[in-house]
Structures are given as C-alpha cells and as structure tokens.
Subunit: 414 residues, 2 copies
Amino acid sequence: MSVEAEIITIGDEILIGQTVDTNSAWMGKHLNDAGVDVDRVVSIRDTKEAIIEALEDVKPKTKLVLMTGGLGPTKDDITKYTLQDYFGGDLVFNQKAYDNVARIFKMFNKEVIEINRLQAMVPSSCKMLLNEMGTAPGMLFERNDVYYVSMPGVPYEMRHLIKTHVLPLIKEKLNAGVVIHRTILTQGVGESFLAEMIKDWQDELHEEISLAYLPSAGMVKMRLTVKGRDEQFLNGLIENAVSELLPQIEKYVYGTEDDTLESVVGKLLKDNNATLASAESCTGGNIARLLTTVPGSSTYFIGSVVAYHNDVKQSMLDVRKEDLIAHGAVSEPIVMQMAKGAKEKFGTDYAVATSGIAGPDGGTEEKPVGTIWIAVSGPNNTITRKFSFGNNRLRNIQKTSFMALNMLREELMA
Amino acid sequence: MSVEAEIITIGDEILIGQTVDTNSAWMGKHLNDAGVDVDRVVSIRDTKEAIIEALEDVKPKTKLVLMTGGLGPTKDDITKYTLQDYFGGDLVFNQKAYDNVARIFKMFNKEVIEINRLQAMVPSSCKMLLNEMGTAPGMLFERNDVYYVSMPGVPYEMRHLIKTHVLPLIKEKLNAGVVIHRTILTQGVGESFLAEMIKDWQDELHEEISLAYLPSAGMVKMRLTVKGRDEQFLNGLIENAVSELLPQIEKYVYGTEDDTLESVVGKLLKDNNATLASAESCTGGNIARLLTTVPGSSTYFIGSVVAYHNDVKQSMLDVRKEDLIAHGAVSEPIVMQMAKGAKEKFGTDYAVATSGIAGPDGGTEEKPVGTIWIAVSGPNNTITRKFSFGNNRLRNIQKTSFMALNMLREELMA
C-alpha cells in the first residue's frame, strides 16, 4: 500500500497566469522519491471559503496534505487564520518563531515591526515548524491520522521546510514504501512508432512496472516506474526490464535520467578529446546557445558563425558563390560547405551546420517553409540530411537544433 | 457576474515532478484576458477513476472545464475512453480528424499506422475540435450548460486549440463581459521605485482600473486591467490612464503589450534602415538566437560570431593578442574590439558584443563569476558597460543578453 498525499497551493497568481507553479513539481519529485504518491494538486484562490472547501475535499485515503502560500505578513494572506478556524485553538505567541523573525530582521539591519511580530503567532492546535529561511513559520496539524502541513509559497522557504520537517515526518510517521523510476530519452522516433516497436516487450512487462511516454519537441521520454517494499527485488525487476528494452531501441536512445542532448554531445566530445564548431543559418545561434548552457563547454566548443545573410556564408565560411546561385542557400551543397567551412575556420574536429526556411515567410513551391538542411562534418566525412518541418518558426528552430545535435551524437558514436 | 472556469490537467508527470505545469498559467492568463476567471486548477493521475472523480468534483457555478493531457496514441492515454464513458455515445471515425492525421504524417513522409488511425476516432457525444498542430483532436462536450473541452497536454497543441476553438467559444456562448488589459514594459528601474514615481497618478486612478507589477529578470511589466460591459467606456477609461502615465516613466518604457526587447530592437533597426551583427562570448549565441526568433529578422540581422575560444576572438574578430594577454578576455578593451571587429567583418552599422564569466566555475578574486562586459558599437561611437551578476550560469546568460539588447535599444534611440 502506498502512502497518498495531496498538494494545495493557495494564491491567485497561478490562476491568473502570473506565476508558473514550479513548487508542486518539486514537491512531487521529492515526495515520490520518499515513497509518497502525490495523488492530486489543487490550486485555489486565497479566500477563506476556497481554503476550507479544499480541506474538506481532501480524499479519505490521503494521509498527508501539503499546503503552500498565503502566509505573508500582509492583509491578503489569510491561510493562518483560516487554519486556526478550521482546526480550532487560539492564536498564541511562539518564542522560537519570534526569535527567528528577529534574527532575520537583524541580518538585514531592520527593526521588527508589529506586522512581523504577528508572524510569530501560531494556532495552539498546530506544531510550529521553524522556517530558518523566512519570517513565516510552517505549521503542522494532525487530525484523524492525517497530517496537514502549511508552508510559505516562496520556493526556497518551502524547500527548506520540506527537507527539515516534512521528509523526516514521512520517515517517522508514515510507513511509505519504495519507488524506483528509470527514464530513457529517445530521439528521432515518434511515440506511436516507439510503442509499435516495443509492443511485445510491453505486453510481457512485469505487472508491477508501469510505463509512460512523455513526448516533447523532437524527442520522447520513456519512464518506467515500480513501487513496493522490497527495494532489492524492485531494483532487479526494473533493471531487468530496462536491459531487455534498450537493445530494441538502441539507435534512438540518446541518454537516461537527467541527460540532455547537449550534455550527452558534450560528454562524447570530451571522451573523444574532440572539438566542435557550428555554422548556423536558420537556427540563428540556438545550437551554440544550447551547447554553451552546459558548464565547462568551453573545453570542447570553440565557436560558431551565425551566417544569417548569404554574404556571410561566403565571407566567413568560404561557401562558393556559384553554388549559392545555382542551388540557393537552403540546399545540400551549401549546408555541406558551411559545415566544412566552419571546421576549417575554427580548426575543429567536428562542425555542424544548418540552413533552412524557418518561416513564417520565405517559402517557395519547391522549398516550402519548414524545409531544412543539416550537415555534420567530422574528421573523415560529412553527412547531410533534409527535413520537412511545419510552419511554426520557433518550433522549426527548436527541432532543427535537436536534430542537428542528434546527428552529431550519432556521428560521434559511429 | 464573472464566468468561472476550472482547469483539470491529466497525467502523472506533474504529480511525480517530471514536468512543471506551464500550461495552467498560460490558460489562466488567456482566459483572464477573455473575461473568464479560473477558479481552480486540479492536477490528477491519468486513471479513469481520477478523471471521473475530477469531473464530478467540478463546482456548480463553473461554466467551462478545460482538460489537458492523456490524449496520445499509446496505451497509457485513457482520457478519450473515459470521456466517452462519462458523456456517453459511441466511438466514431471522424474523417476530418483522419485527414489531419494523414496530412501530418505525409509532411514527415511517414505512413499512417493503425495506432494513429485510432486517433481519428472520437466519441459521438462530442464535437471534434480540429488540432492542426498534432494528431490528437480536441473534443468539446456540453452538459447542463457547462462546456467541457479536452485537449492534448503538448503546450503548442493546447495553445492552438485554445486560440482557434476555446476563445471563440467563450465569445459566442459564454457571456463573459469585457476585460481590457494594457501592458507597459519597463526596464532599468525597480518595482518599488516605479511605484514611488507614479504614486500620485496611482492615487488618482479610476477605481475600476487595477494595476499590477510583474517583475522578472531585468524588467518590470505594469499591467492595467479594467472589467465591465461597456467596451467603449472602458477603452476610454484605460486609454486615458495610460496616456497620463506614460510621460512620467518615459525613459524606462521599452515597449507595450506583446513587445519583446528583440522585436523592439528589430523595429528600430528597420526604421533606421540599419543592420546589426553580434560577437558573443559568454552569451554563447543567445543574443543571435533572440534576434532571429523575430520573423523577418533577416532584413537587418546579418550574422554573429560566437567566439567561445580566445583564438576565435583573434582570428575572426581581429581582437589583438597583446590586449588579450594584458587585460584578459573579460575586459573593456576586448569587448570593445569584439564589437568593432564584428561591425567590420559583417559590414554592419551596429554590433553588440559580450564577454564575461557565466559560471559556475572560471571566476577569480579580481573577476568573480558574474563579471560581464558588454559593448555596443554604432556608426559613430562605441559604448561599454560592466555588470556584476550572480552565480547562476543560465541567469547570467539571460541577463547579459537582455542588458546588451537594451543598450543597443538606447543607442538606436539616441
């Protein structure tokens, strides 16, 4: 039996689209790792009515309710008073909470004003959870064997309270089991083709293992999950499933767990002691940007020419004018010359080049918007591929970058 | 009376923390703009039981329920079958949905396989909503004057369906009233200083108009909102307020509504009939990428050199070796030479250059991580600025790009 939890985020900012709720995903991940399943996330307004309604909506099987938000010092933060109402008791002064407020104010050389003194008042029905990262204390209520934790919505304060109070509570009071995830990252194959390819494997999959497909631009993540009590047994089960799966989809797998295509390419370059440059037309620098988001990328990434104008392709990458005239910029000869030119000019072992019509305008009958050429040039040879993407400029840039990095990955592994 | 909506996101990925829910904030914003209040966001598992429970939990006053997720072609996507069960009817083949699937597969030169043919099957109880961005159609159900819309969870597919189907539905069927927003984009001034500056104006603001400050990296958005029935009256009200506000903060305003710094810079370049190049070290191509996200940017953006390695700064931008040795790459003389070199090499009117220590490593006592130099070179002069940002690599890249574009904007307006 797994332990079920629910998250309630309080505050209008998510509902009106002012803030993206990153807290819930963070809590979900950390609870999950601790063997607790988040069964539901509910985002509500910061009104007394909405908070009480959400508390009453909590499912019978839920053992842990995590609430964030509505704990600031200003008038519109009403979570504490609502919880006092709901769980009973008086609002009492808490010396430890006050000392913490005073410490924080002293750190910023400020006097504690009345409005902040109020933050040290907590309902007598709760256990105060010391929040060393901020002035609003956390609160733990218990009713009918269900634990309710109220925390500020400020991400680093919430994270601190989860680590110092909630995870220990889960360990001590809730008898949570083990959850193991394995994530496999694939590229260059659609969800449905992937599913078709591994149909037999999936049919034979141990019933304890669940499989999810998470597609996003240009890639599909596959996630295997197993839950239970016997960690060693579960580990064996999932390792076994993964080792049976991988050979079947080997050519599409570019990484596992938290890998990114750019970090995988970076690692391969490092392992091969090789260097890289890029020559980008339609991707406009996005490939260089992705590569340089990786810390330490300066050891293998030398530089890039963004050759947006055709003159630049000639002057900086030695692309031949007669080929530009004969074939146009979006063509195999040009993208090939761009890659070779970049390799030459930057003195690298590898270079990747892109040329295409990102859109929304600029397409022709022969070369519609979304027509993309990619070249990867290595120490021994240069490969090219043509793609036909859609009409969305940003997606075309993104997809082209992913595909280019993947072609490079394949070359590095060849 | 406002129209209330609820969002239900279906899928384990948010609950286990694999995906941050950006969809809900996007929907919240766009519904809000259309006069609809999102009252609650609920994220649930992709099980039949959880979906039905969530549908039954919808509040009585809710008029619109937006569901995302669980519509892929694979076995773990069960939203469609659950909705068919819940709303009744048979699963029927929809020719338009099929044609769309076939069109998309043809675009990628792929055969439609059986599993994708199934995507063209929709419950007879729904109206199929054509999803031109993907193979899973949207579905619209109606029961007791409440509209239920099911959409894929892939952000660009969801956005497409909201724009082409949900917003028109709101306009036609839900009497949502008028909401008018005006957004003013400022940079170079903090939220509290801005508030102080316009205190009198704000005190005199018509009570129907609300004002929100939305700060993010390097900028503050101000949003004025007015709601009601009489569009002409409301328009006059808000226009009046804006025209009184603007002169007071003129020097900080870089745009309005959906402007971005890169689109504003692009417009200024076009208006000035001027061209631009970039020479990027620490930003790794991000400035070029931002500039080229703007459709039509090829008319003024010529190209970029990402000079990640110092040799590239010399060979491609004519930076002097002796200055590199004397001052280091992160210095005023170097960033200045990079900008001038880019302007020269690309033959442009303007060039922007960056050199800095993005981190997490590479800092020294004299030049800690976050030390950034930016130069903008124009037809007549070259200006430079030094910044000291923090330790976060991605934020340093982002902030540097933003500041560089803003310096360029100021030069273009000077």
